[in-house]
């Protein structure tokens, strides 16, 4: 890395050339392991001196290569990720860890394994509920993951190593939370677009380097005098993945995005992993319980989904209420990627919840291409017009 840039400009540089640092680290003898989804416990990779690297798509890419392996009516993000991988954009990877976070991830796991020739490959089976038995099962799956990692690296994944790594990742979570504190003011000190660049940079760097980037960025942003302009609305975006600045700029043309409730934003960085006697227990608990993706089935009381809808909604979406109040959010955009069933099925309930707490919302579907942005802009701006005149 050039080393000249710091903080925000460094994040922008990494965002625009995400694999640069991974390639440098590979040249220096490090092993880079890809993962497609935030549910993979990165602590276990970091503990064994492996560098986690999130494999992403690129909205500007016409998806052609994925047609060899995946159907058309299928998650456009997974299609795009696989297209990029098959084009050789991730040719520096030493391995890949996939996980059954949703069906497209699971189906694509086989394809990754067959069509790419990385020396290491592992698939983690992840349960879909948060029952205690599910956490126990997931812990067992993480233990299997540990075994294949130990064989691959020839190193033992000791409790000490894992604790050190967990502390670093917890530090990253705390720093991202601190970064989001800077969007509480009006206007926010940092834009949603800038945060996308920072968070996407984090997913391409070793955790310690990511933490340094966050520390630099936070200190720079706290001191800055010329931040984002005040716009006519303060938005929360709820989505599976919003990790692209082109989409973020569509939202930020007329509004300030102060909360990005997606995998490209705050979702993977809330709370912290508990340091438990068996470290895998803390990891299993955190990843299954704390990450609030629509892929997980949640209910207020076990087996009582239909008894009290309002309470059920509160237990599923209550975490958004605090953010809406503290960040003074006056509109929510539910951004759905086409064919994303988990989020599509969660959307009507979320809409009910937002109605119940009096927050206007809009549902927008797109297909993860830049061609979708012009019609999206009209919908987004019309929504902002309806909420900002009130």
């Amino acid at each position: 890395m050039s080393g000249k840039n710091k903080g925000l400009s460094k994040a922008r540089e990494i965002y625009l050339n995400r694999s640069q640092r991974a390639r440098e680290l590979k040249a220096a003898g490090k092993k880079i392991i890809g993962y497609p989804c935030v549910y993979v416990p990165l602590e276990m990779l970091t503990a064994l001196d492996l560098v986690p690297y999130q494999t992403c798509g690129d909205m500007k890419e016409p998806v052609t290569e994925a047609d060899r392996a995946l159907p058309h009516a299928f998650c456009p993000i997974m299609r795009n990720c696989l297209h990029c991988a098959l084009k050789g954009k991730n040719d520096f990877l030493e391995g890949m860890v996939t996980i059954h976070s949703c069906d497209p991830q699971e189906k694509t796991a086989r394809v990754w394994e067959s069509y790419t020739k990385y020396p290491y490959f592992h698939f983690i089976d992840m349960p879909i509920t948060v029952r205690p038995e599910a956490v126990e099962y997931f812990k067992g799956q993480l233990d299997d993951f540990r075994k294949t990692l130990e064989v691959f690296t020839g190193k033992k994944l000791s409790k000490d190593r894992l604790e050190v790594a967990t502390k670093s990742h917890n530090r990253q979570r705390a720093l991202v939370t601190e970064l989001y504190e800077l969007t509480k003011s009006s206007p926010p000190l940092i834009s949603g677009t800038e945060i996308v660049q920072v968070v996407k940079a984090l997913t391409s760097l070793p955790v310690a380097e990511g933490n340094d980037l966050l520390i630099e960025t936070i200190s720079e942003v706290k001191k800055r005098t010329a931040g984002p302009e005040k716009k006519s609305a303060r938005l929360l975006i709820w989505s599976s993945t919003l990790d692209d600045t082109d989409i973020m700029q569509v939202f930020e043309a007329k509004a300030n995005v102060v909360m990005n409730e997606s995998c490209g934003g705050v979702r993977a960085y809330r709370g912290e992993v508990k340091l438990t006697a068996d470290p895998l227990e803390g990891l299993a608990d955190y990843y299954l319980n704390e990450i609030t993706c629509a892929r997980t089935f949640r209910q207020a009381t076990l087996g009582e989904t239909r008894k009290d809808y309002a309470r059920d909604l509160q237990s599923r979406f209550g975490y958004l209420r605090g953010a809406i109040r503290d960040w003074r959010i006056n509109g929510v955009i539910m951004l759905l990627v086409r064919y994303c069933d988990p989020f599509a099925f969660e959307m009507p309930s979320l809409k009910d919840y937002l109605n119940s707490i009096g927050i206007p919302s809009i549902y927008i579907e797109y297909d993860y291409t830049v061609g979708a942005l012009a019609p999206m802009r009209t919908r987004v701006e019309a929504f902002i017009e309806t909420i900002s005149q009130q």
Binding site: A253, E365, G371, A374, P375, A382, E385, T386
Partner: protein, 284 residues
């Protein structure tokens, strides 16, 4: 003191000029084509000529529609949803729902107190839009403007099972080769298009009075099919293409008058009708 609304749609560009009292001074419609910017200038020049005004006479200009970013002389951009809602409610004060079917999209709008309060739009797809009718007219070698009248002669309504524009074309060709009558096929097509748009509008809820606008509202067959499908009275403005530009002109007037009353000076753009620079620079 004069105001202008410029609506650059995917197919047609419209301009409305208005005086302070809200009187319509002139309006112009023209095909949008590929050169949004040049056309915005020309259509504006034409509208000014018709009203015997100079561009400097216009106090405030609002641009709307898909090409709203491509109007270099516009002082502000407002989406076509807000503009249609405003335009419709100025013509029909009791309107609570407006359905606009344009060349590239269909939208349903909820109106309260003359303002847009909620809306739905179709997905990125030609099904349920004016393009669907355009493509069909071309396939059938008839004029777009004749479709409605022909369809009213139908003796039965052919069921068109596919709503995808491309597949519907194939279905139409198959029906023709089977010997089905043109008017019956057209009635079926209008019904298919209407049910698509009606389903969209029902997502939002339909509250009377209902107003239908956009180029598709000029098709009498569509208006009739919509009445049947929704089971309610439908109002159509005399110039259904103009409600967006009309709303833009009204919003221009209201914005300007409100700012003047508060003693604020509104930032305005250069009034020269010149060729535009790249739009990202002037769009904020």
């Amino acid at each position: 003191m004069y105001f202008a609304g410029v609506d650059i749609g995917s197919t047609m560009t419209k301009v409305v000029l208005m005086d302070r009292a809200g009187n319509l001074l002139s309006f112009i419609k023209g095909p949008t084509g590929a050169e949004h910017r040049r056309l915005a200038n020309e259509v504006m020049r034409e509208a000014l000529e018709k009203a015997s005004l100079q561009i400097d006479d216009i106090s405030y200009i609002v641009a709307t529609g898909y090409g709203r970013l491509n109007v270099p002389f516009a002082d502000c951009q407002i989406t076509e949803l807000s503009c249609h809602a405003r335009g419709v409610s100025s013509l029909f004060p009791n309107a609570r729902t407006a359905i606009d079917i344009g060349g590239q999209d269909a939208k349903s709008m909820k109106i309260d107190n003359g303002r847009l309060v909620n809306f739905v739009m179709n997905d990125k797809c030609a099904a349920g839009t004016g393009r669907f009718l355009e493509v069909t007219a071309t396939t059938l070698a008839i004029k777009l403007g004749e479709m409605g009248a022909i369809s009213l002669k139908a003796t039965k309504k052919i069921q068109i099972s596919n709503l995808c524009t491309i597949f519907a074309q194939q279905e139409v060709v198959a029906l023709l080769s089977r010997g089905e009558k043109l008017e019956n096929i057209l009635a079926g097509l209008h019904d298919a298009l209407t049910s698509r748009v009606a389903a969209l509008a029902r997502r939002l809820g339909i509250e009377p009075d209902l107003v239908l606008t956009g180029g598709v509202a000029k098709n009498i067959g569509m208006v009739e099919a919509m009445k049947q499908n929704l089971g309610c009275e439908i109002f159509v403005p005399e110039e259904p293409l103009l409600t967006g530009a009309l709303g833009a002109a009204i919003l221009a007037k209201e914005t300007y008058v409100k700012a003047a009353a508060a003693g604020e000076a509104l930032p305005t753009k250069s009034r020269r009708l010149e060729k535009a620079t790249f739009f990202s620079q002037e769009y904020r």
